[in-house]
Symmetry: C2
Subunit: 148 residues, 2 copies
DNA sequence: TTAATATCGTTTGCATGCAAACAAAGCGAG
DNA sequence: CTCGCTTTGTTTGCATGCAAACGATATTAA
């Protein structure tokens, strides 16, 4: 486990690694990942969780489109869908009107979990933003949106 | 009586994936990664770059300590150091006073690259933050630091 | 209709990123 | 000095994350 106290910044160098936005984004992501792991049901990963939430929202979605809507590469979304399918959290069926397409749909088990998943998601976001005040959270999310 | 709040979507209960901090951190990281790839010398990855910058700053560092100071797991830093060593960007030598330790040092080639690496790093951070004004950048980095 | 183009999905390869189990070496209390 | 604990590094396993090349299918333009 990486501890925050392990990272110390020298103050006078011309290039301070710890002050660079890329480094800080990576560390913030690590902290979020830890919070995510402790609160998410079923041991889902962030990408698996995102895919489930999105496919629940859409009801039905081609694999590639699901990847685009969850910001995942085609190779990444394939692996995610494969693992979700192996756990019977989504099903894949052919699209009669397009033989290339693999339509992804949530299973009944997943539909029953929907409320709990969203509840966990809200708590994860809440805990991740807990170092910030309400006003700071709004500011941070607005600026983060500009960077996406 | 019917209130306006009865008609509007229950924002407390909804869950919009694209507005969650974890999702946005991941997408912002992806954008940064693209900028990084287009500007970094030698095709270095962000973790390889971080390790090089840090070992140049320290001059000499045990492998585990290098991992802690760059926010990398012991397994991750091992892979990074292995790949840097394979490209002759760092060298590893034993510590006479502690037989467990593998001391990592930059090679001459890396020392010669130091200035260019830091210059590229500054440009990468600049480009990543380009959607924000100067004031917004200071605010964003300050809040991001609180989240790390 | 045919040919060029675009889209969908798969596969391979490389590089993180972390948990867990493990071995070797150092250290501190008794 | 010895036992227990800590630290350092390694290895394995799993899951992203993306580039690139590929085949199959759709769509569009000539």
């Amino acid at each position: 486990m990486i501890m925050a106290t392990d990272i110390k910044a020298p103050s006078k160098a011309s290039y301070v690694l710890e002050e660079q936005v890329g480094f800080m984004l990576r560390v913030a992501g690590q902290r979020h990942w830890g919070i995510f792991q402790s609160l998410v049901p079923l041991g889902l990963t962030p990408t698996q969780f995102s895919a489930l939430i999105k496919v629940l929202e859409l009801g039905e979605c081609s694999q590639n489109e699901l990847g685009r809507k969850t910001a995942m590469d085609v190779a990444t979304i394939k692996g995610v869908v494969d693992r979700l399918r192996a756990r019977d959290l989504v099903a894949v069926k052919p699209d009669p009107s397009d033989k290339r397409r693999a339509m992804v749909v949530p299973t009944e088990q997943t539909k029953a979990l929907a409320h709990g998943l969203r509840q966990a998601g809200r708590q994860i976001s809440e805990d991740t933003l807990s170092p910030l005040s309400e006003a700071e959270r709004r500011t941070f999310l607005a600026l983060l949106a500009k960077m996406s």
